[in-house]
């Protein structure tokens, strides 16, 4: 039952150093994004100039290069969007024409003009380093009390932000979303700041209400799901901003500040990304809800009792359900669905920040009396 004080203080030191490294990573990300935005703007200007001289080329050189490399990598059966290539049809040795038409876009083109993004690499390296420190901080915190490190608000925040960064890096392994890092690291740093400044609690054993393996299951799934919702919120906000810019540009208006937005994918691509993140998160949230209900049955004898926390978890689920339905409804997709996704995130924050502190209920972790 005792607390290992040296581990607890080590945890605090690790969390602080992680914050410092996150801050550096955030700086690097911002610099990279700004540079990327500049480069794209310059390239677009060039393009417009050449457009004035020549008829519009529909396929850029990089795409043709991609066609060749794809052909080489995939053997003879692969072409690339809209390109025509010849290749041997094998046995007879005769060439034939391969035609490939694809409506699905290739990976978001971004600003990949081949120039290396050194600063972005530094940012990723720093993020990984910060996450290692962060995770070490979470682990030592847990070890100091010999339990899972999510027994109070401070620990939720510290562990939750670690999961957000972890999920971001996991997405990064699959596709280049380094443009997103600024919009992930900033809220993470903000939450960590809040956690250490406002929510900090000394490491201590769990109150009896939380002594259950359901704490591990229920809360860890809630973390993953929330992390995905956080990322989806970032991409949704960017989507709305991008949509405005696209509309302005289409109307021939002068675009103001925010050149870095040029480096980001189109509004349509951002929308798709948000959808995919939410689609993964939504069943996880449903599982959080059910696991919470099972735990409630074990702890309080009622699997559903409209406790404020249950209510808000339910509200979040319903709002994201509405989002998914909206995307399938005419007139509700795109921007209006995006507002629902933002509403869902706001509810998530209410559930996290407001309900825990201001609405008394069974989730207030004051023990039982």
């Amino acid at each position: 039952m005792s607390i290992d004080e040296s581990l607890a203080s080590a945890s605090n030191a690790l969390v602080y150093s992680a914050m410092a490294v996150y801050a550096m990573a955030l700086g690097a990300s911002a610099v990279d994004l700004a540079a990327l935005g500049d480069r794209v703007t310059v390239r677009m200007r060039k393009k417009q100039q050449s457009k004035a001289q020549h008829p519009t080329p529909r396929h850029s050189a990089p795409q043709h290069a991609a066609a060749v490399s794809a052909l080489r990598a995939g053997g003879r059966s692969v072409g690339v969007g809209g390109a025509v290539s010849t290749l041997s049809s094998g046995a007879a040795g005769d060439p034939a024409t391969l035609v490939r038409t694809s409506a699905s876009p290739q990976a978001a083109p971004l600003a990949e003009d081949g120039a290396p993004r050194k600063v972005a690499r530094i940012a990723v390296a720093l993020t990984v380093l910060a996450l290692l420190l962060h995770v070490a901080g979470v682990l030592t915190r847990g070890l100091s009390a010999r339990r899972v490190p999510w027994g109070n608000m401070y620990e939720f925040s510290v562990t939750g932000t670690a999961v957000v960064v972890l999920v971001y890096l996991a997405v990064l392994v699959r596709r280049d979303v380094r443009w997103l890092s600024t919009f992930v690291l900033a809220p993470v740093l903000l939450s960590l700041g809040l956690a250490v400044a406002v929510l900090y609690t000394d490491s201590a054993p769990l109150v009896p209400a939380l002594q259950s393996y359901w704490l591990i299951i229920h809360v860890s799934i809630a973390f993953k799901s929330s992390a995905l919702f956080v990322l989806a919120f970032s991409t949704t906000v960017l989507q709305l901003v991008q949509e405005r810019r696209e509309a302005k540009r289409a109307a021939g208006q002068v675009l103001g500040a925010g050149r870095f937005m040029e480096a980001l994918p189109s509004a349509a691509d951002l929308e798709k990304l948000s959808y995919r993140l939410i689609a993964i998160s939504f069943p996880l949230w449903a599982f959080t809800l059910v696991a919470g209900a099972i735990w409630a049955e074990v702890a309080w004898g009622r699997y559903w009792n409209w406790d404020p926390k249950e209510v808000w978890t339910f509200i979040i689920w319903v709002v994201y359900a509405a989002y998914l339905h909206a995307r399938a409804t005419g007139g509700w997709n795109g921007r209006r669905a995006a507002y629902l996704s933002i509403a869902g995130f706001v509810c998530l924050m209410v559930n996290y920040g407001v309900v825990n502190i201001f609405f008394p209920g069974n989730h207030s972790y004051a023990g039982i009396g």
Partner: protein, 618 residues
């Protein structure tokens, strides 16, 4: 979910507000209303409404969560509370308006899902739809000419679609043979399962409410408990519960142990660390007793019911002698906990005193301290300096009038408060073992010892398991409906137009015996959110080619170059591709893929003029 309401698109329902049934009569109106109710738009609005209406219940105290908090709220807000109550804001989740929304939502859901289930079941038995005339108009399209007969191509395609778990059907028309494949019907099945399972969850919750019961009981250490309505302190049965048929288990509370944070330097000083009730259970009269421990997250399961440790506190043993010295009261008396430090309140009712009925009420403090502002409070929840602070009443306790009375409250309406020798209300302060004399010869009060009590919640919910099973089914269905792609793939083999330039270009090469030339086309269509459709089309295309031309000759071109270095058969094409791509500038000649493909298929000469020119370059 994306596909949830596809059906609404197939049912030709007019958008609301645009067309209104005119002169359709009652039936027409009903049909129109039903269509509106089951439309996606309505479901969406109801969903959002449900979310919004659920909010006030988290702000205002709810009777079903804690009755006493509601009572206190009404006392504190005498002006607004009656209005809030009239609007059901203390019973949000039983209120007519909340019920109306979720009932409408579920009617809408059922009205949507049942017809869809019928359609889906019918669809499962139907072959995939006929191959479209122009595959090039599909979102994904691949085409290549091969030296193989259309039948060989079709056979290869059939094997490939089978391997990839497509339901396939072949079609023949004037110019071509084709195969239609459909996959991912599971997505719709999952979607329907999800929605039907949600209905199951709601039904299970309803069944649990009708046939389940919930009761609370307070037991002091050493006391027994038998599961019957007579033993409960509160009893909250569902409408259809038979109170005489409760499972006949019983238990005795042997020990109630508690552990608190005892390090005064810790910020969490006094926070509970462990609660544990040791009980001896007998499942049925005459059964074998077994000992169990009930902890906060470890309920006792007995006789189909569950017993939860819901609370604990102190039951000071108080004895009262009347003015004649007769022992008229001697028992552990439950004092309910009011704060985290176990400042507790309770009452003692002594009806049998010959010298006049006596009522005592006041505080029990496990670790007593007198705060200059708050008065006597407890500063630590465990027994440090246990003390009783009581006031005394005499008169009519009201127990003889037969009306049910709360055992834990003193009705002082017919009683008179006792005063001390100085004329102010008597304040009794008793430390452990102390005795105090009551004025007016009413007798003595002694604080003998301290016992503990445990509060248990007994709960029976026959549909608990069903609710869980339906929830898990719903999540399974949901996951399937979100991640299984629903696709159609068509493979067509048609005779290539004669005199195609490809052979002509290769005239210089070793001419194999003239073989049939066939145009192989693959088209793919997504019927749901599908990010992998292009990859799937590529994979089907590649697999068909790999079957037609076995992989020995069809491996990676780079490898091939190394393997049959002298045989130039493959090399030129590879290099030509590369040079072609590199050399052809992105000029105005470039067409979009779509037109190019359309061109290749619709022109009598399937070969594109541009590709011919590229061949001729060589």
């Amino acid at each position: 979910m994306t596909s949830v309401h596809e059906r609404h698109e197939s049912v030709p329902s007019p958008p609301p507000g645009l067309s209104r049934p005119k002169g359709l009569g009652l039936l027409g109106w009903l049909r129109w209303s039903w269509r509106q109710l089951t439309s996606m738009r309505t479901a969406l609005l109801l969903l959002m409404l449900l979310a919004v209406l659920a909010v006030p219940g988290s702000y205002f105290p709810q009777r079903r969560v804690d009755q006493s908090v509601v009572v206190r709220y009404i006392q504190d807000n005498p002006r607004s509370a009656p209005w809030l109550d009239r609007l059901y804001l203390f019973d949000v989740y039983n209120s007519p308006w909340f019920s109306a929304v979720y009932l409408l939502l579920f009617i809408s859901l059922v009205g949507c899902v049942l017809p869809r289930t019928r359609v889906h079941l019918a669809n499962l038995r139907q072959p995939p739809p006929r191959t479209p005339a122009r595959l090039a108009h599909l979102p994904e399209h691949r085409a290549i000419e091969v030296h193989a007969s259309p039948q060989d191509v079709l056979d290869a395609a059939r094997a490939v679609l089978g391997e990839r778990r497509y339901r396939a059907a072949s079609f023949t028309d004037r110019r071509s043979v084709s195969l239609a494949g459909q996959k991912g019907d599971l997505r719709e099945s999952g979607n329907l399962l999800f929605h039907l399972a949600l209905v199951g969850v709601v039904v299970a919750v309803g069944v649990g409410g009708l046939w389940g019961y919930r009761a609370q009981v307070v037991t002091t250490v050493g006391e027994g408990y038998v599961n019957s309505t007579a033993s409960y302190d509160t009893w909250d049965p569902g409408t259809l519960v038979d109170p005489d048929a409760l499972p006949p288990f019983s238990f005795v509370l042997d020990q109630m142990s508690v552990v608190f944070e005892d390090d005064p330097a810790n910020a969490q000083y006094g926070t509970p660390r462990d609660f544990r009730a040791e009980v001896t259970v007998i499942d049925a009269p005459g059964g074998q007793p077994r000992t169990e421990a009930i902890r906060v997250n470890e309920p006792l399961r007995a006789g189909g019911a569950s017993v939860y440790l819901a609370g604990n506190g102190y039951a000071p043993v108080i004895s009262v002698r009347d003015g004649n010295g007769t022992l008229v009261y001697d028992q552990p008396t439950v004092f309910f906990v009011r704060d985290d430090m176990y400042t507790s309140t309770g009452v003692v009712k002594v009806p049998d005193a010959a010298t006049g009925q006596v009522g005592l009420q006041g505080l029990f403090l496990p670790t007593a301290n007198v705060d200059p502002v708050q008065g006597p409070i407890s500063t630590y929840p465990d027994l440090g300096q246990p003390e009783l602070y009581l006031t005394a009443f005499t008169g009519d306790l009201g127990l003889d009038r037969g009306a049910p009375q709360n055992a834990y409250e003193l009705d002082t309406s017919r009683m008179r408060q006792l005063n001390g020798s100085d004329g102010t209300p008597l304040r009794i302060r008793l430390a452990l073992g102390e005795t105090v004399q009551l004025p007016e010869g009413l007798g003595t009060v002694t604080f003998d010892s301290v016992d503990r009590f445990a509060g248990f919640t007994v709960r029976h919910d026959p549909a608990r398991g069903a609710a869980l099973a339906f929830s898990l089914l719903a999540i399974t269905g949901l996951t399937v409906s979100l991640f299984v792609p629903r696709r159609r793939v068509w493979v067509r083999a048609s005779a290539a137009a004669p005199g195609a330039p490809a052979t002509a270009v290769r005239a210089g090469q070793v001419a194999a015996e003239p073989r049939e030339r066939t145009l192989l086309e693959v088209g793919a269509l997504a019927r749901s959110e599908d990010h992998g459709l292009g990859g799937e089309a590529d994979a089907v295309f590649a697999a068909v080619l790999a079957r037609l031309f076995p992989p020995a000759q069809a491996s990676d071109p780079n490898e091939q170059d190394e393997q049959d270095e002298p045989g130039e058969q493959n090399e030129p094409s590879t290099s030509s591709t590369q040079s072609g791509s590199d050399q052809i500038p992105p000029s105005g000649r470039t067409l979009t893929g779509r037109t190019l493909t359309g061109h290749a298929l619709t022109s009598p000469d399937p070969m594109n003029p541009r590709s011919r020119s590229r061949h001729e370059h060589r």
